[in-house]
C-alpha cells in the first residue's frame, strides 16, 4: 500500500477544555506550512496524518513540519491492511535495511486483531531475525524500534523512525511580539525561542546607511525571513537610525553612545509595537555578554518602555545560543561580516554600568521626541 506521515503534537495534550482552540491553530499552521504540496491532510484520534503525497517529497514535507511549533514528532510510515501476513511481510522488508539491535512494539487499537500485542511483537521479531542476520534483539535500548500500530480502520501503520520536531505551542496561541533583530547570532535565536512558545512575530531592524551597507540590511532581511518560517511569515520594520547616531555622536559623551542608542531603539520599538497591536518586545540579550547587556545597561534600556520586554536568552551562554542558531540554520548567515548598526561610532570604552541619572542628563541634550518622530516616519515595511 502507500506511505503516510504521522504527526504527533506536543504540549497541547496538557490543555483542558480549551484544547480545541489550540488544535485548530496547530491544524491551520500545519496546513499553511505544507500548502505547496499536493497531499491529503487528515486528523485522526490524537494525531494528524498526511497521505496521498509523492514519496520523493517526504524529506521536504518533514523539513516544513520541523518549522511548525506545537508538533512533537513525526514519523514516515508504511501502511498495510491489518492482516497478520501483510504486516509481517512489510516489517521484514523494512527491517532488511537495518543493522545493529532492534525491538518490535505493537499497539492494537483494533481489538479484533487475533493476536495479542506482546505475542505479535514477538512473532514479528522472530520473522525479522530469520531474514536479517545483521540484527539482534535488545528490548532495553535497541538501535531501532519497529513500531506497529494496528488501527481500528482496518489499516496498520509501520514505522522505524521518529523525527523530533520543534515542540512548544502553536504559533499564534501566545500573543504577538516585536523582535529586535540586529543581524547577529542572538536575535534570530531569541525570535525562534518565542516562536516555539507560540508567539506570532514581527521584527524591527535599525540600520545606519551609509555607515552600514545594503548588504547588512539584506542579511537581516534574510535572517528575518528564516525566523518568519517559524511563525508563518513576518513583517519586518526597517528603521533608519543614522540621524540618531549622528546626533548622539555630536552632542553626547562618547561612552554613552550605546546606552543612549539602546534607549532610542526601545522607545521606537515600543511605538511600533503599540501601533501594530504587538504585546511585547523581544530581544536577544544575554546577561553580561557585552557592555549593553549588563544588568545596569538592561535596566537603563528597559526603563524607557512600559510594554513587557522578553529576553528568552538572558541566562544562555554564547555557546548554547550558537548551538541553537546552527540547529535553526541562521548561524551561517549571522556570521557574514557586514557591519550592523551597533558597531558604527563604537566608543573605545562603552559604559558597562550606566548610572540612570547620568544617562538621563546626557539624553536631555538631544531632541528625543523629534528624533524618534523622524525615525518612525522613515520606516520601511517588508512583508516576509
Amino acid at each position: 500500500m502507500s506511505k503516510v506521515i504521522i504527526i504527533r503534537w506536543g504540549e497541547i495534550h496538557l490543555k483542558g477544555k480549551n484544547r480545541g482552540i489550540f488544535e485548530k491553530m496547530l491544524e491551520d499552521n500545519i496546513k499553511h506550512a505544507i500548502k505547496d504540496f499536493d497531499l491529503t491532510f487528515k486528523k485522526i484520534s490524537g494525531r494528524y496524518l498526511i497521505k496521498d503525497f509523492d514519496e520523493i517529497y517526504t524529506e521536504d514535507i518533514i523539513k516544513k513540519l520541523s518549522k511548525v511549533s506545537g508538533i512533537h514528532s513525526v514519523s514516515p510510515c508504511e501502511v498495510v491492511k491489518s492482516n497478520v501476513d501483510d504486516i509481517i511481510n512489510k516489517c521484514v522488508e523494512i527491517a532488511n535495511d537495518l543493522s545493529g539491535t532492534f525491538k518490535v512494539e505493537t499497539k492494537r487499537a483494533d481489538k479484533t486483531f487475533p493476536i495479542l500485542s506482546i505475542d505479535f511483537s514477538r512473532k514479528v521479531g522472530g520473522e525479522i531475525l530469520k531474514n536479517n542476520h545483521d540484527l539482534s534483539v535488545d528490548v532495553i535500548s535497541p538501535t531501532h524500534t519497529v513500531s506497529i500500530d494496528i488501527r481500528e480502520t482496518g489499516e496498520t501503520l509501520i514505522f522505524t523512525k521518529i523525527y523530533m520536531m520543534m515542540g512548544g505551542m502553536p504559533s499564534g496561541s501566545s500573543g504577538k511580539g516585536l523582535l529586535m533583530i540586529s543581524g547577529g547570532i542572538d536575535s534570530p535565536v531569541a525570535g525562534y525561542m518565542m516562536a516555539k512558545r507560540g508567539m506570532k512575530l514581527s521584527a524591527v531592524h535599525f540600520h545606519s546607511y551609509p555607515y552600514t551597507s545594503e548588504y547588512a540590511k539584506e542579511k537581516v532581511i534574510k535572517l528575518a525571513k528564516m525566523v518568519g518560517e517559524y511563525t508563518g511569515g513576518l513583517k519586518l520594520y526597517v528603521v533608519s537610525f543614522t540621524k540618531i547616531q549622528e546626533e548622539i555622536h555630536k552632542l553626547c559623551k562618547e561612552e554613552y553612545m550605546i546606552t543612549l542608542m539602546r534607549r532610542f531603539m526601545m522607545k521606537i520599538s515600543e511605538t511600533i509595537a503599540k501601533n501594530n497591536g504587538l504585546q511585547a518586545i523581544i530581544t536577544g540579550e544575554s546577561l553580561g555578554q557585552v557592555a549593553s547587556q549588563t544588568i545596569e545597561s538592561i535596566t537603563s534600556s528597559g526603563s524607557v518602555v512600559k510594554i513587557p520586554v522578553l529576553r528568552p536568552l538572558i541566562a544562555f551562554d554564547k555557546i548554547d545560543i550558537i548551538k541553537i542558531s546552527e540547529k535553526i540554520e541562521t548561524y551561517e548567515t549571522s556570521i557574514l561580516p557586514y557591519e550592523d548598526c551597533c558597531t558604527v561610532f563604537l566608543p573605545k570604552h562603552p559604559l558597562i554600568k550606566p548610572n540612570l541619572k547620568k544617562v538621563q542628563i546626557e539624553e536631555e541634550k538631544l531632541n528625543v521626541e523629534e528624533l524618534i518622530f523622524d525615525a518612525l516616519s522613515s520606516i520601511e515595511i517588508i512583508e516576509l
Partner: protein, 374 residues
C-alpha cells in the same frame, strides 16, 4: 551615474553586442556539429583565435575559458604539483588561493614579498626560485593598486635561475589597457573579457606554442583541442574578439586619454585627507587612495548617494579582514580602513572625473567632521 569601478567590471560594448547578435539569431549552432551551421560557428571561433594571434604574435595561441579565474586555475593546477611553485603576495585571489590550496595539499608553495605600491619585490621573488621550481606566477597589473610588474623582465630573470620553470602571469587588469607584448619567456597569460567591454563568463588562457603538456582543467567533449571541454560560448567569444581588437587598435589613444584622467584625478585629490597608495609607475587605469581614519565603505556609500560609484579596496567592518594585498604591502590599519579604488575606462569622461574628485574630497572631509567632531 558616474561609474569609476571599471577594474571590477566594465559596461559591455553595446556596439559589439549588436554586431554579434547574428550568432543568437541565425548562427546559433553547436560548433562541434557536423552540418554546415556547425562549420560556420566553429569558423567564428577560429577567426577569433586568429585575431588573438595577431595581438599576441604567432608564438602564442589562445584557449577560450569561462573567466580569468578558470584560466589561472588551469595554468596553475596543470603544472604546479611538483617541486615548488612561486608566486607573489600581490596576486588576485584567483591565483593566490590556488597556491594556498596547493600548500594545504602538502605542496611547496612560496610567496614573494611586495613593495609599498603592490608590485612584487623582484629580489624576494628570485630568492624563492631554485632548481626545483616548476612554476612561477606573477600578476601583470595588480587589481587593487594598478602596480605594473615587468613580466617580460621578471620571466627572463626567473628562467636564468631555472630555464625549465613555467612562467604564468594573470593579465586580467593589463590586457587592453597597458602594453601586453609578451616575450618568449612568458608561457601562459590569463585574460578576462568583461574587464574590457566584453561579457562576463568569457576568458582566455594565452599559451606559448612551445609549451608542452598543458592539462585541461575541465574535461569532456574535447573542445579547444582537448584543453578546455564544454560547448564554446560563441557569442561571448565573438564579442571578446571585437573588443580586444578595438582596444589593440586604439591602444595609444586610449592610454593617453586615461593617463590624463589619472593625472586630473591625482592632482585633484586632497592630499591632506588622502594618502595615495598607487605608485607613479602604475597602470593609469587603477588608482588606490586611502582616507586615513575613515572607512572606505562608508565613503563609498556616501559617494553612491552623489551618483559616483567607486570600489573599496578593503572592508568597512572590524569583523572583516583588511585587504590582504595592501596588508602585505605593509600599510597600517588606519590606512587600510580607508581605502577606496577608482578605476577608469577608455571612455570615461574627464568632466566626470573632475566631478567625482570634488565629491570624493567633499564627502571625505564632511565624514571626517562627523566622525571626529571636528
Amino acid at each position: 551615474m558616474i561609474y569609476l569601478d571599471n577594474a571590477a567590471t566594465t559596461k559591455p560594448d553595446l556596439n559589439a553586442i549588436e554586431m554579434s547578435n547574428y550568432i543568437n539569431e541565425t548562427d546559433f549552432f553547436n560548433p562541434s556539429a557536423k552540418y554546415h551551421g556547425g562549420l560556420i560557428t566553429s569558423g567564428i571561433i577560429s577567426k577569433a583565435k586568429e585575431s588573438f594571434s595577431k595581438i599576441f604574435g604567432s608564438n602564442f595561441e589562445v584557449i577560450f575559458t569561462s573567466c580569468g579565474t578558470e584560466s589561472d586555475n588551469t595554468a596553475i593546477f596543470s603544472y604546479a604539483r611538483r617541486g615548488n611553485a612561486v608566486t607573489t603576495l600581490g596576486e588576485h585571489s584567483a591565483v593566490y588561493e590556488c597556491y594556498n590550496a596547493l600548500k594545504k595539499a602538502g605542496y611547496d608553495s612560496r610567496f614573494a614579498e611586495i613593495n609599498k605600491d603592490g608590485s612584487v619585490s623582484i629580489d624576494s621573488l628570485l630568492k624563492q626560485i631554485d632548481k626545483n621550481t616548476v612554476f612561477v606566477s606573477v600578476v601583470h597589473v595588480n587589481n587593487e593598486t594598478g602596480a605594473i610588474n615587468d613580466i617580460n623582465y621578471i620571466a627572463k630573470k626567473c628562467k636564468e635561475i631555472n630555464p625549465r620553470l613555467i612562467f604564468h602571469s594573470d593579465g586580467v587588469q593589463a590586457f587592453g589597457k597597458i602594453n601586453v607584448k609578451l616575450s618568449n619567456y612568458v608561457d601562459l597569460y590569463s585574460l578576462s573579457a568583461h574587464k574590457i567591454g566584453g561579457l562576463k563568463g568569457v576568458g582566455a588562457l594565452i599559451k606559448n606554442k612551445n609549451l608542452k603538456n598543458l592539462k585541461p582543467y575541465i574535461i569532456g567533449g574535447g573542445q579547444e583541442n582537448g584543453l578546455r571541454s564544454g560547448t564554446e560560448n560563441v557569442f561571448g567569444i565573438k564579442i571578446f574578439e571585437k573588443v580586444a581588437l578595438d582596444k589593440f587598435n586604439n591602444f595609444e589613444r586610449n592610454f593617453n586619454h586615461v593617463k590624463n584622467l589619472n593625472k586630473v584625478f591625482l592632482d585633484g585629490v586632497d592630499k591632506s585627507v588622502f594618502t595615495v597608495i598607487s605608485g607613479e609607475n602604475s597602470s593609469p587605469y587603477v588608482v588606490s587612495i586611502s582616507a586615513r581614519g575613515l572607512r572606505g565603505e562608508v565613503l563609498q556609500h556616501k559617494l553612491e548617494s552623489c551618483g559616483v560609484l567607486v570600489g573599496t579596496g578593503s572592508a568597512c567592518s572590524s569583523k572583516k579582514p583588511h585587504s590582504r594585498v595592501l596588508k602585505s604591502a605593509g600599510y597600517s590599519s588606519d590606512i587600510l580602513d580607508g581605502v577606496i579604488r577608482i578605476s577608469f575606462n577608455y571612455d570615461t569622461n574627464v568632466e566626470d572625473v573632475k566631478f567625482a574628485v570634488e565629491k570624493i574630497n567633499e564627502n571625505a572631509i564632511s565624514l571626517k567632521k562627523a566622525m571626529y567632531n571636528l
